[in-house]
């Protein structure tokens, strides 16, 4: 165990370089681990399901425990996409500082977006027994990268203002002018703003319009962080914590008022009623809760990133996930699915269902395997820094 920890420490020292931003890897690592829970439970538990808020629908959960076991995973997509924007801004700035031309940076982002779309068709969609046309979180990030290959030329304050306007107003968007009868029209609406599984194979859950704004907020943070000294970054602990508390307080106010900002209305006063928010598409209440939580995670990450034990043990494992998010994502799906691809999509069902304790055990063992794989992958990237691996 000791050698494992020292191995991680060594990896961190040599791979991350900019150690002051490890709090971002920490926050991202936490949500990767939570996301793994969501997926292993989705694959193997009878009572785990998603779909909260698809066009106002609200599927029931068998009890509060199963609801909370799903609810905790709400942090994943917003934080994943937000921090993708943050890291993107920092990485673009570094590339330009290294002397890469604007054209090369644009091309790199477009290629990276296309590679993500390929991964969706080849790896992500089959893992969920979805058609290759499935517009999931990776496809959404891929398209957002392509958008940002051009949008990055806008001033940060414009991107920030547009992102806030989109997040606060996307629920008013009416796409009814796009016809739904030709399939392309339907699919376009799914991709833009109307998540749906109603017309196979034109299905998707992560429409671009609200999510590109979440990435835009992350991009704005990344530009703000770029060039900041370690002392200044450490000084952000309190602002992040305050932003987190303010955001969660705003969530409570929005749910209490039960009007604007709620795509799924609060139908009562139970815990489930208060927390049952729309993820597909993400309403304001959902984003206030999850991004508020992210701010608290970032504050915690800044608080502990300088500690001696940070690079070992559990925190070391978590940051290794956060350093390799795409690799983790692609591998964990098939590791937890643990079945061959289905030749008849939509017929997915596990050969048997697991109970809650067995699923938790499967999740924990899988995380250890994924940790070792992430370390191995980092080593591989160091050995072969130039080829396709840079896109994963």
């Amino acid at each position: 165990m000791r050698s494992m920890a020292s191995g991680v420490q060594e990896t961190v020292k040599t791979v991350t370089g900019a150690s002051r931003l490890e709090f971002i890897d920490f926050a991202r690592g936490i949500v990767m681990a939570i996301m793994a829970w969501d997926h292993v439970s989705g694959f193997w538990n009878q009572f785990h399901h998603g779909g909260e808020g698809i066009l106002g629908r609200a599927p029931p959960f068998v009890d509060t425990t199963w609801f909370l076991l799903r609810f905790v995973s709400h942090y994943c997509a917003p934080i994943f996409i937000f921090l993708a924007g943050t890291v993107l801004a920092i990485s673009v700035k570094r590339r330009l500082e290294k002397g890469e031309s604007q054209r090369d940076v644009t091309l790199h982002l477009v290629k990276r977006g296309l590679v993500l779309l390929f991964f969706v068709a080849a790896i992500e969609a089959p893992a969920f027994t979805n058609p290759w046309t499935y517009f999931g979180v990776i496809a959404c990030i891929g398209v957002c990268l392509i958008i940002f290959s051009l949008a990055r030329r806008l001033p940060t304050k414009v991107i920030l203002a547009l992102s806030l306007v989109i997040i606060l107003n996307h629920s008013f968007l009416d796409l009814s002018f796009i016809p739904t009868r030709p399939n392309w029209g339907w699919y376009l609406r799914v991709i833009l703003h109307e998540p749906s599984f109603d017309r196979w194979p034109y299905v998707g859950l992560y429409p671009i319009i609200p999510w590109v704004a979440v990435m835009g907020l992350g991009w704005s943070l990344g530009n703000y962080l770029s060039g900041k000294s370690t002392e200044k970054i450490n000084g952000l602990k309190r602002p992040f914590a305050l932003a987190g508390v303010a955001s969660i307080t705003a969530f409570i106010v929005v749910r209490w008022l039960n009007g604007y900002g709620n795509l799924v209305a609060r139908m009562g006063n139970t815990l489930v009623d208060w927390l049952y928010v729309s993820k597909y598409p993400p309403d304001l209440a959902f984003l206030l809760w999850t991004l508020g939580g992210m701010c608290l995670m970032l504050a915690l990450g800044i608080h502990i990133q300088g500690r001696e034990w940070f690079h070992g043990g559990l925190t070391g494992m978590i940051t290794s996930f956060g350093r390799n998010p795409l690799f983790f994502y692609l591998v964990h799906l098939w590791l937890y699915r643990a079945q061959l691809p289905d030749f008849y999509p939509r017929a997915y069902a596990p050969p048997f269902y697991l109970g809650l304790p067995e699923t938790l055990l499967f999740w924990a063992v899988g995380l250890v395997v994924l940790w070792r794989l992430c370390l191995w992958y980092e080593k591989l990237k160091r050995q072969y820094p130039k080829p396709i691996l840079q896109y994963i």
């Binding site: 066009l55 106002g56 599927p59 029931p60 806030l164 306007v165 209305a265 139908m267």
Partner: protein, 196 residues
């Protein structure tokens, strides 16, 4: 005496501009859309009342052949298909002896001509969607599959009984209550066009 204005930092000025733009756009939209139908629902309006219903259920009039809905009598029903197939509808008529339970009995009797209705529960008075209603649970046997349903009845101020019902293949009681509650909350009636 010359008053020297304190220069505003560009950072604060930019933040203020962003704030004003975002608040103005959002405020305008909230005001402009204050009476809109919620996302995922459609609005029915006719026969002196209106209500919202899940948009995947394509609602149609006159379940009883040849009968056109009027202010004092009518019914509407909509269905969706798939794994979570849903049926929802509303029946209205002038209040008569027996009140809401009589109208509910009539609906169940009519449906029994085509399906076996089982597990008919007792009427429970409760507040649903801000209205005082009677709620009754039941199951419908369709091709040997038992489909749970709920109906809720309410008497409007002008003396009409409205019974809304909802059945779903896989979504369970919570969802049915949720939808009925939403539909009931949105139900608005108008005075009759002419005295009865």
């Amino acid at each position: 005496m010359i008053h020297m204005a304190t220069p505003i930092s560009p950072r604060y000025r930019d933040a203020a501009i962003i704030l004003v733009v975002v608040v103005a756009v959002t405020g305008f939209n909230v005001w402009q859309h204050r009476g809109d139908t919620p996302v995922g629902y459609q609005l029915y309006s006719g026969s002196g009342f209106s209500f919202i219903y899940p948009r995947e259920c394509s609602l149609r009039e006159a379940v009883v052949f040849f009968r056109l809905p009027s202010y004092w009598l009518g019914d509407l029903q909509g269905e969706s298909s798939g794994e979570a197939a849903t049926v929802m509808g509303v029946v209205w008529e002038a209040e008569r002896a027996g009140g809401v339970p009589a109208t509910m009995d009539e609906i169940i009797d009519a449906a029994s001509d085509y399906y076996q209705i089982t597990d008919i529960g007792v009427d429970v008075d409760m507040t649903l969607g801000g209205k005082q209603v009677s709620v009754r649970g039941f199951n419908v046997l369709v091709n040997e599959v038992s489909v749970p349903g709920l109906m809720a009845g309410w008497v409007s101020p002008e003396g009409r009984v409205f019974v809304m019902y909802c059945l779903s293949l896989s979504r369970g009681d919570d969802w049915l209550t949720f939808q009925l509650s939403r539909m009931m909350a949105s139900l608005k009636t108008e005075p009759p066009p002419q005295p009865r």
